[in-house]
């Protein structure tokens, strides 16, 4: 059909990739938005400002739609792991059952309290009681991201297991959670999810302001989300740097492939952009001297392992370089928008809410941030090929041998298209028919403290 002959491994990879790529959009929203809702509600209660409380309410309303798609696609990937990668799951069941199990507990916890939160807005006398119902949602969603990333970290750098002749013999149930990839991966995933959601919500406010709807509600929303985004951006930059140092020590082939670093050398330069010719010559790339050594080990004189010292059949595909550079350009643009915002907020506050170019820039950050997440994940996952369990099991050994994976790929692609389009339609209609300023008027909460 798509390939010359039926190859279950390739189709399994494509289907898993497709499901994850779709799920990650909603999962990221699922992790980050509860935190932003909590922030808005907390400020609203503390400042007795109804506008912030309404913000929390409106965000929560949209959030339910994305949660629904996130839950069903999450269930899909959970089941697909066993259906498409049965041999891998056999090994995973022996070694990483604990984080998998804990992830569902976190999900359970979140699901229970999300239901409670959504239906108890006016139920408790003390407003803080309702706010506390949200904390398990924030903790649960971040915890499930934490545990599932722990699983992924194990696949990148297995720990807590003894491997004899490529077979896992001895397992320490909790040791498997403490993989060297875990700290950087988990913190990177969490912070970038918060960051992306802050940008998405900022983009919504910026859109309304750009349309000339100058209600103070949107100004408050923009300020809250953009300041949060700036904080998260700074933290993710620090963690990104630590991730590079992790790669240099534990997965040098990924770092070398992403930077097209062939010879093991000291004072290694970093290549940005460029194209790779047939015989591995880099053309048109910008070389930044010493930068790779600094990125990898924090010292300009440090030695960085090159691809020539890695067996050819264990080298990840070299096109991940393009992916990484694209990702870094997205990051650069987000940083630019954030800096302009901060500068204007500090020197000429009125322009923050009216400068069309800044507002357009903020709108752009939302898709950019989501694309960065996608690129980052594709880069991380393709970068560990050919391994499904780094150093233990190759991807081809983990896949199913079943027929019909190709048909399933098409069916699921259709499903995700339909789900994605309906979700967008429903969300758009939900907020177009009930704009914030109308709801403020309807609820009689005009005034709510001026900016």
């Amino acid at each position: 059909m798509l390939l010359a002959s039926y190859d279950p491994v390739m189709y399994s990879r494509m289907l898993t990739g497709l499901t994850l790529a779709f799920h990650i959009i909603f999962a990221t929203i699922g992790v980050g938005v509860p935190l932003m809702i909590a922030l808005a509600e907390w400020i609203g209660i503390r400042r007795k400002d109804e506008h912030y409380l309404l913000m929390a309410r409106r965000w929560a309303r949209g959030f339910v739609i994305t949660v629904a798609v996130g839950v069903v696609t999450g269930t899909a990937i959970g089941l697909q792991l066993s259906l498409l990668w049965p041999s891998f799951m056999k090994v995973a069941g022996q070694s990483i059952a604990i984080p998998l199990f804990l992830e569902t507990f976190a999900f359970f916890f979140e699901a229970i309290f999300l239901g409670i939160y959504l239906y108890t807005w006016d139920r408790f006398k003390n407003k803080m009681t309702h706010f506390w119902m949200l904390t398990p949602v924030v903790i649960g969603s971040s915890a499930s991201a934490f545990f599932i990333t722990v699983v992924n970290a194990f696949m990148n750098a297995p720990a807590g297991v003894t491997v004899v002749d490529g077979k896992i013999t001895d397992i320490s149930p909790f040791g498997a959670m403490l993989s060297p990839a875990m700290p950087t991966k988990v913190s990177h995933v969490l912070i970038t999810a918060y960051l992306t959601c802050a940008f998405i919500l900022a983009a919504i406010s910026a859109w309304s302001l750009l349309k000339g709807r100058n209600h103070v509600y949107y100004k408050k929303a923009l300020k809250l989300t953009m300041i949060s985004a700036c904080v998260f951006l700074l933290s993710s930059a620090i963690i990104g740097d630590l991730s590079g140092k992790y790669l240099a020590n534990y997965q040098p082939e990924k770092l070398a492939a992403m930077e097209w670093h062939f010879e093991t050398t000291k004072q290694a330069p970093l290549v940005f952009g460029g194209i790779l010719t047939e015989d591995n010559e880099i053309k048109y790339g910008i070389k930044i001297p010493y930068a790779l050594s600094v990125l990898a080990h924090g010292r300009p004189n440090a030695e960085v392992t090159g691809l020539n010292d890695i067996p050819a059949d264990e080298t990840p595909p070299l096109w991940i370089h393009y992916l990484f550079d694209l990702k870094m350009s997205f990051v650069a643009m987000m940083v630019l928008v954030a800096l302009v915002f901060l500068l204007l907020l500090w020197r000429k506050r009125s322009l923050v809410y009216s400068n069309k170019w800044l507002l357009r820039g903020i709108i752009l950050t939302a898709p950019l941030a989501m694309l960065t997440i996608e690129h980052g994940w594709i880069f991380a996952e393709v970068g560990r090929q050919p391994w499904i369990l780094h150093g233990i099991m190759r991807t081809s050994e983990g896949a199913t041998v079943s027929d019909h994976v190709d048909t399933m790929l098409i069916v699921f692609a259709l499903l995700y298209i339909v789900l994605g389009l309906t979700a967008v339609r429903v969300l758009l209609r939900m907020f177009r028919n009930n704009r914030a300023e109308d709801e403020i008027a309807a609820r009689g909460i005009e005034g709510g403290g001026q900016q």
């Binding site: 739609i65 269930t75 069916v411 979700a423 429903v426 209609r429």
Partner: protein
Amino acid sequence: MSYEVIGITVLWIFLFGYLIVASIDFGAGFFSYYSTITGKRHLINKVIERYLSPVWEVTNVFLVFFFVGFVGFFPDTAYYYGTALLLPGSVAIILLAIRGSYYAFSNYGSKKDSRFYLFLYGASGLLIPASLSTVLTISEGGYIAVDDNNQITFLFTKLFTSAYSWTVVLLAIVSVLYISAMFLCYYANRANDRGAFELVRKYAIAWSGPTILSSLLVFFAIRGHNAGHFQRMEDYAWMFVLSFVCFVVAIYLVWARKRLGLSFIFVLLQFGFAFFGYGAGHLPYILYPYLTIYDNFTSEPMAIALISVFVLGLLLLIPSLYLLMRLFLFDANYVQGKRNK
């Protein structure tokens, strides 16, 4: 009790939990759609919506919990079931995806009560139990072939032409409607909603006969399909007798319009006895005749770790579930719609 038995018991309890909450959920979705096309939506929709809205997300977790736990305790099952179930499993995923998302779209979106969304949501709810029940059918053996290289082939046509598999599908669909209607009787009564109560009471009584008939059919079909399992189930005959007694009591109470909470507890007991009797008879096989709970169990440290994590998790879950029930099931003001969201 050995770790293996603890493991499978824990998982079986979760599957039972899923069976109950999912049945209420799936059936309610179907009734909600059915009442729309028969013009009786105004009668029962409020009651259904008030119950479902806060809990729909929780239902899915029971299922995820079950299969994640299964792979954890019995890693080899991932290999056998994973390979065999690609098609039925994917069908179930697609149905679950359609149902879950269209529930949210139709309930939280601004274009409420879109008939098309309701149809997707109601119809998928009936097909999910059918597609999920194939797992139980396959576990009886005879539907997959394993060759010398441990290659697994799923025997499609065999499943589709087998009398046993169709009786299981029938039982799954019918009992979903029965469990759901029985629960809604209790809930509508709590809500003091006479109109809704009388309607769901009719549904409950109408589906009680088919439920018991299809249970008997499954019994006979198992005897034909897997005689060993049937014999072991005979050892637990008292459980099935008790199950039937509970059924009679539950239906009597609904018929007499008395003590509907107690009636639903008897429904739980009815299915509990039957489900655990069936499960106990199934042991020691997980997948007849290839897998038993003993030769594919996880390592001892992992089993201990899983069980401890499980107990700790329960300490967190039980109070939370209790809170959820207190707020939305046992709070008379909420159930009667006297509290706004």
